[in-house]
Symmetry: C2
Subunit: 280 residues, 2 copies
Amino acid sequence: MRPDTLGVIGLGAIGGSVAWQAGVAGVPRVLGFSPFPAEGAAAVRAGAVTDLAPSVRHVFERSDLVVLAAPPVQNLALLSAAARFLRPEAMCTDVTAVKVPVIAVAGALGLETRFAGSHPLVAVAQTGFGAAEPARFRGALVYVTPVGSQDAPAREVADFWAAVLEAQPVIADAEVHDAVVAWTSQLPQAVGCAMAHACASDGPRGVTFGSTARAATQPALAPVAAVRDTLLLNRAAVLEVLDRVEVALGGLQGALRDGDPVRLQAWLEAGSAWRRRIEP
Amino acid sequence: MRPDTLGVIGLGAIGGSVAWQAGVAGVPRVLGFSPFPAEGAAAVRAGAVTDLAPSVRHVFERSDLVVLAAPPVQNLALLSAAARFLRPEAMCTDVTAVKVPVIAVAGALGLETRFAGSHPLVAVAQTGFGAAEPARFRGALVYVTPVGSQDAPAREVADFWAAVLEAQPVIADAEVHDAVVAWTSQLPQAVGCAMAHACASDGPRGVTFGSTARAATQPALAPVAAVRDTLLLNRAAVLEVLDRVEVALGGLQGALRDGDPVRLQAWLEAGSAWRRRIEP
């Protein structure tokens, strides 16, 4: 779908980019809402929105498509407002990185014919509108997850990502999505933070951590509240993946304890072969 | 020291760079040895060595300073040849990333007045002379470790790194060095490989691993034999660090199992605060 009026709730790095890129792509009216006056003002100055809304209700009541781009837990809360105020013929989606809870709440609120979840895979190092970009989603992979068996809203939302934002949407089941992102994004996030935590608790002081260590612990620089919420929202899948990482680490520890070069080499080669397959 | 004749055994990414940069810096004779004829020929063609030696004995018998730049375990074996063939007034060092075993062997072989270990901290993604660079060590941190209380050879070797190769040498105790690198380089190496191993064993197939996951598992692309040997040579310190990482992961798993946002936030913030202190 190409909305005449696009509503965006939350004008941070993701929401601000959705609004901005949609305007650049010719959406005539982009109605933004931010709880932070300075962020809304910055979005207006940049031309990322055509109008600022005084409330989320105002956005829901005037938009053909509403994108929920608040932090994860707030997006879940905004679904209640969507159920009350979204126009009957309008559509809604969100950009939360975990989809099962979003889809469950949307279904429970009776939004199944007007909602599909989204998860754009874009790396965002900073928060706030200052990190928004007007071509953020060009070529980006975006997962779109239907509520139950409702394919029509998912197709509309996927078409918005493709036709307006030049992204590459893939329609996927929410449970499959969450199991996959537990591996592809939450695993490196959680383990990078665990390395940083171990260094903070027990690491040497006053020494140089080189580029390898800084890269490995880079995930610990991500906004803590967002990381906390996405880990908690997907905790069953994340715990399952962390169990598998513990098994892998146990294999390494066993080979090292036994001083077994053959076993250690085989252990290293399994990971190396996998990593070469996902080059670069 | 500024050697008239520098010997370099092993002409890969590190040894080739030592030879090349020393020649550029005005060392009159750079005598290289490689067990691989093609690698030796490439070093000659690039002008990285002035002469190729037919044997390691030839290098030891003719050099004022010999740099052992073979893989870790071969460097240990080369110390025996150093003890037999190094001239009485000459010096020797190595570039192995783990120093306690090197220093122990050098001491046992009676090399204490003619040997100090080196560990240049340079990130090398590729192996072989093709990855050598003629300005590799400019500004690089280089740890130099004495044998026992023999400071004079360590000062000579440190002076070579500073005066000839424009590096920044730091004289350090081998045990302290190995405990530090277990944290600063072997921790991210081992854990990056463990994530790759887990993905290889249990991860989803046919899905996109984005830039975060590729960066996190980048260590699994390092040469397996070198990683195997440096992990084994420093296994006591590495096992100690991995125990601390297990404790950190346990803290995360506990907070997730209990669904405790306050505990999870505190856990994340400890690592985040540490990581911000070692910016960028």
